[in-house]
């Protein structure tokens, strides 16, 4: 028998969900529908009228080689950031899990970076990575001119990837540690009795058992690296040098707000949104069904 609570007053449930509904409508559905509308029209830079353009905006983007460059760069960026951040977080979590002393302290210490707003972190990292004065810049003292993200595109992209990974480590760490601690100790002990050394146990026993968490974090990290990189890039490189750190989300901002190409930017937003929706779909449909360990 299913037990359910009923409201006598038909209006009350709507009233109760109204605040949340209002937020979602105002900050998600309304802008999205605007973007969708703009994506299919040609919007005037200074406002005042528009004309229906059909798929032209999308076709223009798809024929733009520069845009595809951005897509490839974004994919590369997302993969590197996700891999680096998850690998670092997992390594830390494994070490913390092995020696349980002070686990609580580590939990809170490692999650702090996640609480730092990306632009704030970006400003801090600008000083750290500054070629003329920063910590990393010190290697220019040994090999003059070897480090300068302001003119070397690869260095700039690498720098952003490192920063973005760093911001995500805390979040990933918490999930990894929780997952590792969910595994009964006796399984690891049985592995030890079976003769497996710690690294072997980690690869054969722990990693497969936290696979659901790994999949979950993989998707979350990919989505985050597609959408959350704006704050870092805007404060650290502004997409430069020569567009080498221009990822999809930054190009939307640049084309829309700097280039005043509202329609093109709107179309790009729709594409990025579809990408994120697709990843979320994978998360729900494919990943959650594969979780069968117990």
């Amino acid at each position: 028998m299913e037990r359910r609570a009923y409201y006598r007053n038909k209006g009350l449930p709507w009233l109760l969900i109204a605040p949340q509904l209002l937020l979602v409508l105002v900050f998600f559905y309304w802008p999205t529908s605007q973007a969708l509308y703009w994506a299919f029209t040609l919007e005037q830079p200074w406002g005042g009228g528009n004309s229906w353009a059909g798929w032209d905006n999308f076709l223009a983007i798809f024929h733009d080689r520069e845009y595809w460059g951005t897509v490839v760069r974004s994919a590369f960026y997302a993969c590197c950031t996700t891999a680096l951040s998850m690998f670092m977080a997992l390594t830390l979590a494994v070490f913390v899990d092995r020696s349980l002393k002070g686990t609580r302290a580590f939990q809170s210490v490692y999650v702090w970076p996640y609480a730092i707003a990306a632009p704030a972190a970006g400003v801090a990292f600008r000083f750290i990575f500054a070629p003329e004065a920063g910590l990393v810049g010190a290697i220019n003292g040994l090999w003059p001119g070897i480090w300068n993200p302001a003119i070397n595109g690869y260095q700039a992209l690498g720098m952003i990837i490192v920063c973005h990974s760093w911001l995500g480590i805390g979040y990933n760490f918490i999930f990894f540690l929780a997952a590792l601690q969910m595994i009964p100790r006796s399984i690891s002990e049985a592995g030890a009795m079976d003769g497996a050394r710690p690294v072997r146990r980690m690869l054969d026993l722990q990693l497969p058992l936290i696979a659901p968490t790994v999949f979950f974090l993989l998707i979350i990290n990919l989505i985050s690296s597609f959408t959350d990189s704006f704050g870092l890039i805007d404060t650290m490189t502004e997409g430069g040098p020569f567009g080498s750190t221009e990822v999809m989300v930054y190009k939307i901002y640049f084309d829309g707000f700097k280039g005043l190409d509202y329609s093109g930017a709107a179309a790009q937003s729709i594409i990025l949104m579809l990408l994120v929706v697709a990843l979320t779909f994978v998360q729900f449909r494919w990943v959650e069904k594969r979780v069968h360990y117990n």
């Binding site: 006796s186 049985a190 009795m193 003769g195 497996a196 072997r200 054969d204 696979a211 360990y293 117990n294």
Partner: protein, 372 residues
Amino acid sequence: MTTITFKSVKKRYKKNPVVHGVDAQIESGEFVVILGPSGCGKSTLLRMIAGLEEISDGEILIGDTVVNKLEPRERGCAMVFQNYALYPHMSVRKNIGYALKVAGMPKPEREARVLKVAQSVSLEGYLDRLPGELSGGQRQRVAMARAMVREPKVFLFDEPFSNLDAKLRVAMRSEVRRLHRDLGVTSVFVTHDQTEAMTLADRLIIMNGGRVEQIGRPSDVYHNPASRFVADFIGSPAMNLIEGEFDAKGVFNHGKGGQLRAEGGMALAGRKVALGIRPEAIRRAGAGSNGAIAAVVDYVEELGASRLIYADASGSRLIVVDTGTGPLPGGTKLHFTFAEQDVHLFAEDGRRIETHASAARMAAHAEQPINA
């Protein structure tokens, strides 16, 4: 063949001592059960043999090797865990074969070994299942097969049957017995279930509060408990323990004016002792029989083959195993007798007091040595 030797083994968690110095020797091929209430340190002792817990003080030797500093994989022990600790993502085949895979055994050889071991615990039909698809008893057998496949020098069992129902427990018990008979591997089995312990053990190590109370064969421990704790812990229903004091004439005074005669009492005059007598050593007697104790029935527990009479003997609780039939309503007055040699005396500190009668009993129950 492999012996296990404990030399004043101690375990502390931070400042907190949990095992207070255990000295014992387990013979090669012997099946030893460590028995005790929960929290007595029995599992800790087992895990120290396995290498899963550090030894704070003292030494453990497996064979002639001090294993204190050795990793679990270097000790040659296999362990069956309480919650099975199977690898949930691996099939039964992979679970059993994991140790061999880690050891680098080539696949064909490994498969053959796994199959052979699986057959010996009748699991050959389940090799491709995941542990989650097995019943409790099957999982338990996988855990045992996984321990057996490595052909270890020592088997360790950490309360392996505590998650099984009563019927399966009995079945698994005989399976373990059979395996031990076939393989003859030195085995240490930890449990808090005395029936399990009595039926499985060549020898028992009875622990309480981090100390060894008694080491001996099940019948020795039952018939000659070395301490009041053992007397109370072993046997079901538990031994009757009547608190009292001997007077100068050697008469045991207990409860509210209860009196008993017991041999050797004179020597103990003035000492507070506990007089122990097994419920099955007490018999009903006719009224007015020589030396009979009078008691009033509180209630009767019917067990089928026999029944337990809970009676009050001048303020002391008496449990008696009775094979008689016929109604025994509460309030019935009965008389009981018992042989003097069935009496156990325990001093105030819980240690056993030897008397002539108990020495005679010990001689009567002495058996041939196990390894003769």
